[in-house]
Symmetry: D2
Subunit: 458 residues, 4 copies
């Protein structure tokens, strides 16, 4: 048991089970840097405002800086018997600089201190996430550029639908990841308020200069309601919800790649360095990294659930339950960051199997829409065109024939508007070339988007 920041009215020691059960140092230690930085700004302010003496403030700052230096150098040994990171820093500071350390906690409480620490931490992590998302986008873009001309069968309902450029599908990933970044930036705007000086929850009679602390720590503004400042965990839920959406995106990308690397789809080959084998089947090469990325989306959703339940029905104030906001936050952040990092690397290690893909493209059902649209251009209504081609497809299936094998006569039986010209469309290159509507898969449009993203992600 270490020295508490409270307890003078307590007639007896805390039970050892209580010590263990209430301690948060095992996880909040990762906030040490923000806790110290916040304390430095706070100490400076206390001095400036003459709440404590100038030399006391200077001593506090010096002591805190020494802790910071040690922390950066990896020399700050965290005492896991501490109640929390705040108590640990406070107690350690006292060991280093003596009794003046007792003045540091003037005009603040752990309630606003932890709110500050997490906000600073998340602001930084949003920057890290944004960078990782950008790296993944760049990696996907490079992959798209390297495989610019490759046409794949596109799927809806996992059934072959129409031809698309592989790069067009890859750009869909980049779009989704871009929204993820925007969402995080929006969240960051809402986090960027400085809560320190709200004290336990009501403010203080001490002449704090919260604006000064705010500027020192690089926040946009100070919070304007002391109760909200300690009770609010919106920003954590919002960020973890954003992470949940990211992880859903990653699970979908992973699913695509897992399907493509089956022997049945056979679109891609993932490098051995990103696969693992089987302890029993010597031939196996499994896409484990992708399966874990997919699986981790469950984890992040669990973290989000956990936070929402935590907050439900709590009185609007600080309650100890709030301490439990950190494990799911950290878990979600760590797992999403790791997933982003490894997925970016993995995209550099995929080979597209052109011939194997090409063999799938012989399936002429991929071109039915092109024939429908050909008929529409001739004045046939969409509905009739759909019917004509539908009957043609059915007939081919019934008779085991390919569309390309149909004679003019056979075609005409389905519609007088059909003729041999349609065989021109039974070609993947022609098919994608035709899709020139805004946002479509034509090579020219896709090239334009690739250029756009190349400039944007530079």
């Amino acid at each position: 048991m270490t020295k508490k920041l409270w307890g003078s009215r307590f007639p007896k020691k805390t039970h050892i089970l209580t010590e263990r059960f209430t301690s948060s140092i095992a996880y909040d230690q990762r906030l040490a840097r923000y806790d110290i930085l916040g304390s430095i700004a706070h100490a400076k302010m206390l001095g400036r405002q003459r709440i404590i003496k100038g030399d006391e403030a200077a001593l506090l700052v010096k002591g805190l800086n020494s802790l910071l230096t040690d922390l950066k150098a990896g020399k700050l040994k965290i005492d896991l018997k501490s109640e929390d990171i705040h108590s640990f820093i406070q107690n350690l500071l006292k060991k280093r600089i003596g009794g003046v350390a007792d003045k540091l906690h003037t005009g603040r409480s752990r309630n606003d201190q932890i709110a500050l620490d997490i906000r600073m931490y998340i602001k930084e992590e949003i920057n890290n996430l944004t960078e990782l998302l950008t790296q993944l986008q760049r990696s996907v873009l490079r992959f798209a550029i390297d495989n610019k001309g490759i046409i794949i069968p596109g799927y809806t309902h996992l059934q072959r639908a129409q031809c698309v450029l592989l790069s067009h599908l890859l750009l869909a990933y980049i779009e989704a990841l871009e929204r993820d970044k925007e969402r995080l930036q929006d969240a960051r705007e809402r986090i960027d308020f400085m809560p320190l000086g709200s004290c336990a929850f009501s403010g203080t009679s001490l002449p704090l200069d919260r604006g000064f602390v705010c500027r020192q720590l690089g926040f946009k503004a100070a919070t304007t309601n002391s109760i909200d400042s300690v009770a609010d965990r919106d920003f954590i839920i919002e960020v973890v919800a954003d992470l949940a959406i990211i992880s859903v995106h990653l699970s979908r990308i992973a699913e695509d790649l897992i399907l493509w690397s089956t022997q049945e789809f056979n679109f891609i080959d993932i490098d051995f360095s990103f696969c693992t084998g089987s302890s029993i089947m010597p031939h196996k090469k499994n896409p484990d990294v992708l399966e874990l990325i997919r699986g981790l989306s469950g984890r992040i959703q669990g973290d989000l659930s956990s936070l929402l339940v935590l907050l439900k029905g709590l009185p609007t104030s600080y309650n100890r339950d709030l301490q439990l906001d950190k494990p799911p936050l950290f878990d979600a952040l760590d797992n999403v960051k790791e997933s982003l990092e490894i997925l970016a690397e993995l995209f550099e290690n995929i080979v597209v199997k052109k011939e194997a893909i090409a063999s799938h493209l012989k399936d002429e059902s991929l071109f039915t829409v092109d024939i429908v649209e050909y008929l529409i251009k001739k004045g046939v209504s969409y509905r009739q065109a759909h019917d004509i081609v539908g009957r043609m497809v059915k007939d081919c299936l019934d008779k085991g024939k390919r569309i390309s094998e149909l004679s003019v006569g056979e075609l005409k039986r389905f519609s007088p508007f059909l003729d041999l010209e349609i065989k021109h469309f039974l070609d993947p290159g022609v098919s994608v070339e035709l899709k020139r509507s805004l946002g479509g898969t034509s090579p020219q449009l896709v090239a334009g988007r690739i250029d756009y993203w190349r400039r944007r992600l530079k």
Copy 2:
């Protein structure tokens, strides 16, 4: 069974179980208006682009407008045997204007159509939600103004902590609700892209003018990737996550009010018109509305879970699973809107019980921080001051004495810095007056914030 938009290649009828299981008309009928509006814009564009003839387009628009008129007048009887709202509108249009209706579906698919409908719907619902949130804020603000001077014991850990103005706590609600509005606005920005014309997922060879449709429907821009356009449900998850945060806020406000209306807290009296009674205990008057608001936060969290699970691991394209995005979206929207509406009304129907509250304020432990800060201002370190007052509190409890009963001599035993002057602080009015740090609970600061919100919420 009604006419399908597909099926010409299908050799047999759909099984009756399949009909029922796959039909979405029971819930997507609420999108009828957006579906028609989208179709009108689409038809106009088809005409302008000469994809269909001018008079055909005009006829389509006229027919669609007649549906719209009927819908607004409540005369559009939805056929629950339809597959979905799109098929229903399409089939009905054909009944009204004949074969030319078959040309409407040219250059689009249900995949992009539903994406359009939901986006239009959510944009409008965000406006509605924003208005409801503002109404609740206004209602809380009026309540705060009406009870401006009332001081209550503030709580942390549901234990009495320090005095605060009731209005200060109420302003904390307004802050939280303001963030809720911002979050929705940010989401709206991301929704404001027009997906129609992405067709099934690859774009089309028809010369659509997606920009025209976009402008007609009041969107910021058209989407730029046809696959992303039909596969993306981010905006639904994001909005439902925003609703989940709102519902957590409402559950916390409800919990406050439920506690305050217990006989034990006895802070407020909720009007009978917002309570219900017991079928067995004639004296009961229960805060059911608030309990249901609190309970509904579970519902919204369930809706959010449901959506995140739905999307997890789906291939990046349209899959039929996506149809199931609507029930949780609608459920969350309806319940949050109803909760907001009734809570705003309920706040107009609360009486604050001043005397009962005043009796709680006699608890002198509410003023310990004021004494600590008095000592700090005399140069005592925070830690020592905390210890001094802690020991004093303990001694009072042990001896069954009140702080106000301590003699100078008794005070001095705890610290030479203590004297009778501290009794000045054993007063709720003095106590809140002192909390003048930015965001604190002093009446002047709170009045400033009330003014701020009065202007802002006008």
Copy 3:
């Protein structure tokens, strides 16, 4: 607004918003039958115990029976303006039999009444679910029997692993569904306690005979703690958790079938009557039913979340939040039942594509474990055997050779224990025949299990 069961002390009417917000009749009407049955048993008991007169009891029972008759005949028009199903029945009864109806609510409250209704309802639904699960098992078993001899490539990590009998995999479904039934039966045991007569929460001074009511309604025993009786919703959570596990099973079965019906896997053909088409692509035949079953697992998980959040942190008693337990329960039950029913039907409408599957089985990597085990039987350690075959596989891949093309000399280069005999194993039939360990895929073992299930599911 209809007549309330309370309100005599209420000086004013309930607000219209409160009426709407607190009413549960829209969903609890489905409990009407149980509510009436419970009331009949209660009325009989009141008469037997002389709490009311014998002829009063008789009149109550007669009136209730008339309601029951109407309900069964579909003639009981539910008034959606009622507060709940209990009030509706009570008020209707009074209309039919006059003032004596006012005696029915003696010695009970809506708190214990709803607890009774839901328990009766769930008990019946567990029977229904059990029957539906058995029907699905039977349907899968028939499908397994019809395709008894068919060998498919088995997968781990969605990569080809070893040959297995299709029927063996299907039996895995049956095992999982059997556990689902057991779980429901266990839950039923815990539900089978009769709560009526617990009144609001404390019991009553009236000389009820709860044992009589219990026997009348076919419960195992009466509950033994009146507070627990009205506060407990464990049984709902437990059943919905069981439904969530079922829906996970169904989602996995659906995923298997969706994969198998891709053009790439091409294992099966689902009948047109269980597929739908595309409004834009005439050739499409999509496995929508399966996608919806997969997607619905998100819904059930949301329902479970919703319930757990609802209960979290509620005081141990009746709180109005509990009213919200029903929508997620009903939603989960309905969707799981519908999914089970249609999936059972769908399994009757699948054709296995033997030749297409056979072509996959030419992949000789499916047999590596057989060669490893051949080596082990010759005394080679598992690890060496795994290495030998691993190097052989790598060499074949590098050189583009099949194992069956290797000469004795080539084989011996990997190990002296290898010889041409191993080519015997490059055969799907031999491979599955070999797997004779308990629970393995050998035809004889699988036939034994089929027999077992045939007898068990009769």
Copy 4:
């Protein structure tokens, strides 16, 4: 990087990111004991079946036993660079006993090995949980016995309802915890099947004796389908669902105690050793332990979500996603166990504040039901009785009178059946004494239940 159990066909090393991302040793190390025990049974069987030589088996067993001894002694240093616990044990064994270790993995895979380890682990943890639940029940029972005669106001909707014995409410906790134990026992029955020997998923050609292994390890039976054996994670979800229900119970008990320890309710005093203080308010004594127990229910719900999402839509086989089943399982188990342990201890450290409670009991509205039932016994219908007392209550409130102050004349105005006799009921002791219906709160009935539980929990 440590030696892999696979990889002979792999032409290159695993990427360092892959190593880190796919490693599970950080968490699955807690399964070491079960992994070794399983291996010992497997090795013995291999020897008995002459799959390996007798002396090889003996050497394997000896080596494994030495690992077990070291593990128990806390001397087994886990190498965190290992891929998983299986690889770690395998590699360490080889270091100790040389090449024969390579024979251990014969006839099994990591897929069935991990299934075995978790099943063994959970079986043991269910025993631990059951013991902890029983301890909590005993602790609650002792508390109930120590405060047997104490009457408290009971609440519904958190509004005062009727008097109940505190011990009666406490017995409701014991009932709920008993169901928790039953649920775990039911789950244990379903877990008690031995999966080892299912190999990767298809069984093996080696002559394993799975029955022998099953008996050695104390399982009820061996699993009967090799695919189900490696794909099934039902038992983990089921157990975590059971833990979620337990945690909901604990959150409700915690909420009760938090409310009771407010200054407003003031029913109980929790010992200082189970509270913590405030770093800013010297007088604070907060029920942190209870708040954390309440908050942790969010965590367990998150763990459950995480698992359900993980499994959703996975093909029926082993997929690497399954590796992620362990962190939520372990997290849920640890947190529930800790919560149970500390709550049992905390109940030993609560003092009930009789006088404070008694002052609440002066509220005569607590006795309205007694008066209603008095009227019913006189032949008044329930509805009329409810009305009479309701009007009486209203009148008292309107006039600021207590029921006990009403004269005969005043009483008669509400009903001729009312007379001064009813004042007899305005007494907590009388009120609870009256509730003699089965399961009610009368002292005699409660004493009977206390006896029941005393015998049962012995």
